[in-house]
Symmetry: C2
Subunit: 300 residues, 2 copies
């Protein structure tokens, strides 16, 4: 299972019961939180996300609608007696803000909070099942996007066939890597007889807040699901540029050029009560587009 659930899809001002940015990415047993606007801990409760399973939090930038909910979430985790380490990846200054807020409350967290400052583009988490990397976006202040990629060995074991050909379990890891097996009497068991092709590893890119920026195309090339902000409809492209945000058509253009499978759009301005036009405008450029509606989950 690899998917993303939307907890907040609105831009700076909460409106129409839409919340500031927050998303939860689930990859098998792992839960990642990306951005954490005010009220995220309430949204986590509302959508029954297992808070205790969140071990990695990624914060794109230090505009409040992307992190004002973080300190509340962290202190609540502490009040609930969390013991597992928590890893936080964010712009450097957030460490000072958290330290100050814990300090004035005389609070000591009962778990270890590892702060990983975002400094340069590249891999920030390297797990044997997945990898997370960050990339810079162009916004009014330093801002980071994130890509979560599955890691998969090339081949999967065919459970019936390995028994039939009597391949010892100790050799399975080599089989997954595509190697043939040679029995004691010198018979070659061909890899393709006992394994099956794996599905290709999948990937999710979260583009945070950004002005229209074609350098993103290479950074998110061919991901399965691309989240790109659309603060405004296409007619407001000048306002979008002025505020370092994007329009529907701009997000869809990046999706087209990057040849992604699906585009997810969000971070809607509070000036819009209805969101249908966002979908229509983006689909006119890139058909396979979905709206980041709160509470909805998207398979990657």
């Amino acid at each position: 299972m690899f998917g993303v659930t939307i907890l907040g899809n609105n831009s700076a001002l909460p409106a129409f019961d839409r919340h500031p940015t927050a998303q939860v990415v689930t990859l098998n047993d792992h839960i990642f939180l990306i951005d954490c606007g005010e009220g995220t801990q309430m949204q986590i409760a509302r959508y029954k996300i297992k808070r205790s399973k969140i071990n990695h939090i990624f914060i794109s930038h230090l505009h409040g609608d992307h992190y004002f909910g973080l300190i509340g979430l962290i202190t609540s985790m502490g009040l609930l007696g969390r013991e597992n380490d928590l890893h936080l990846y964010a712009p450097k200054k957030l460490e000072d803000i958290i330290a100050l807020q814990l300090n004035v409350a005389a609070t000591t967290l009962p778990f270890k909070l590892h702060f990983h400052p975002l400094i340069e583009e590249g891999i920030i988490v390297n797990h044997h099942k997945y990898q997370v990397s960050c990339f810079a976006t162009k916004h009014r202040i330093p801002c980071w996007g994130f890509i979560i990629r599955e890691k998969k060995v090339p081949r999967k074991i065919d459970k019936e066939k390995v028994l039939q050909f009597e391949v010892p379990t100790a050799y399975y890891e080599n089989l997954k890597l595509g190697k043939d097996y040679e029995t004691k009497d010198g018979t070659i068991i061909k890899n393709e007889w006992v394994t099956i092709a794996n599905t290709p590893p999948k990937s999710y890119a979260f583009c945070a807040d950004t002005i229209y920026d074609e350098t993103l195309v290479d950074k998110v090339k061919e991901v399965n699901l691309l989240y790109h902000e659309t603060t405004y409809l296409k007619d407001l492209h000048e306002r979008a540029a002025l505020r370092f945000h994007s329009t529907t058509v701009q997000a869809a253009t990046i999706a087209t050029k990057a040849n992604v499978k699906t585009l997810l759009i969000g971070h809607f301005s509070s000036k819009y009560e209805e969101l249908e036009a966002f979908l229509n405008e983006a689909k006119a450029v890139f058909e396979n587009t979905a709206l980041a509606i709160e509470g909805n989950s998207f398979r990657i």
Copy 2:
């Protein structure tokens, strides 16, 4: 009109759709916000409070459930183009937190934010129609309660009678202060002929977070409405003391000793889904008790 509307009535962990502490006090055209837990700006929208009319915010202490929503509210006021000055009364360190959070976002507020650090007990706002004072409560970190008192001149003008006795309007302010009026021919118009007794000025005391503390009795003596926290039911008085919080019976005992008119209880622990027992236990000691239910307003 003098009343309080509850925006949040829960203790530290948001639960059962109850929010952390926030209350709005309305006194004629003035709106005061007391405490501002996470999500307060959404609660303000939900209950249609006129955000632009809030000119004074009082923060009792720097535990997150009493102020984590403040920075979001302030930045939203900025995004909405607020121009009026905003006065904030809070423990000193909050000024650093706000400055740091505005700084990392490269945000300049379009209005003037006046920070008034709470340092000693006494009057903190002195308006010709009302007065706000603060008093220390006993909590794990420095914590302040607030009292908002109406100011009223002793007498009200009787509009029919002043016309009948032909008292000039320029003399009305003297009438309100209880003075008689002497006509040009020396006739004395007795004050009680042209004025009526005013209702006594009313008062609201917000006791913030506190352990059971009998020194509060004098501080909130005979207020019309007393808000006192009841984090726990009476059986957990030991836990309450350990955490510098109070129980139902303790709040009701303070209300009795202080001879207040009505007691309002809140700041319920997340361990309780149902609140009925809070009301029953408090009423057993002090009959005129009400639960601080979110969205409810209480006339003072």
